[in-house]
Symmetry: C2
Subunit: 185 residues, 2 copies
DNA sequence: GTCTATATGTTGATAGAC
DNA sequence: GTCTATCAACATATAGAC
């Protein structure tokens, strides 16, 4: 009796991890099949194309991001919410230094890809930008959009540099500076 | 009589442009050969491998960067030098929005590549960081390294966001904010 | 639903004539 | 030095038995 197995989820988990480590283009279906212990030919029962896997990975990351932002929104003040968000890069600083930001690496790679994945990955960055803008607006900042741009730029820039230098101290230092910056507003 | 033709330089120029537009992995030797109007098989007379082309492109970008930093260093004060450097992202903001930063895209892509190109591209980011640190030191800033990290993060982050959103206004806005930040130091 | 075998296309790289 | 033809490896995707 055909039942929904866990293979689809295993494939997605492997794909998510491998794409973080190697990038989308560099990650082959054979890599994903091997890591998730699903035969190569069977992958196509769960995903029509490689792009479909990428699409699902992006959707998963978007869902995870929304959950994170939702949790941060539980804080009492908008400033506390932004500060709470900064706990996340600290908690995954090892991964950020080793593989880069799971949003930024995807967005940067796929921004020049000729695929609908470009628009999907763009939504990841927009989600953070929009949420941040809301927080700055609620702080009665006249130029909330510009501040949100600065906030997210700091985070994306530090991830790129930390990854390039393979140094998680960059994360620690930059988050501390961003915290200080927020507290001066 | 065999003379050194301009084919090598044509190849490098095409490679540089295509790698900026598409990334290193995505750019094929056939792409480069076609764009530079050099037959595919002839490419290997000038470059032993594809990696060798990448290496030369990185070296060219490093040389170009050093020249830019050298020009900025002509300014009278360290603050003026940092402000002068900010003129460059403004001058190429269209390209930054369309293709991303020629240093950051390369460093981010190759940081996870299993190749000596990883170290070469890392040097691009280190060059900017070291120069920036020097300027902040000469401004008698106690934590010049942290400020340089913040400075370069802003620039790399804005390029990633501008490219993702395909919006050069991000460059204009963020550079303006960074100028203001420098003037408050 | 599952899996082996394989088709089909692309890419980095080489052989060898000129 | 130059260029055509082609190899060998790899990648996405499909066919078809079970």
């Amino acid at each position: 009796m055909p039942r929904s197995s866990d293979k689809r989820e295993r494939l997605l988990r492997s794909a998510d991890q491998l794409i973080l480590q190697q990038g989308f283009k560099q990650t082959t279906l054979a890599d994903i099949a091997k890591d998730s212990e699903v035969p190569l030919g069977n992958v196509y029962y769960y995903f029509k194309t490689k792009e479909a896997i990428g699409q699902s990975v992006i959707e998963d990351r978007l869902e995870h991001l929304r959950q994170l932002l939702h949790n941060c929104t539980a804080e009492a003040t908008p400033k506390a919410r932004l500060l709470a968000f900064l706990d996340y890069p600290i908690s995954i600083r090892d991964s950020l230094a080793e593989h880069g930001c799971p949003l930024g690496t995807l967005a940067y790679e796929l921004s020049r890809a000729d695929s609908f994945l470009r628009d999907s990955s763009r939504a990841l960055i927009e989600e953070v930008l929009n949420w941040s803008t809301q927080q700055f607006e609620q702080m009665d900042q006249p130029d909330a959009h510009a501040l949100a741009l600065q906030f997210v730029s700091q985070l994306q820039g530090m991830s790129l540099i930390a990854n390039t230098l393979n140094d998680d101290q960059v994360i620690t230092d930059m988050v501390e500076q961003t915290r200080h910056w927020l507290n001066t507003l």
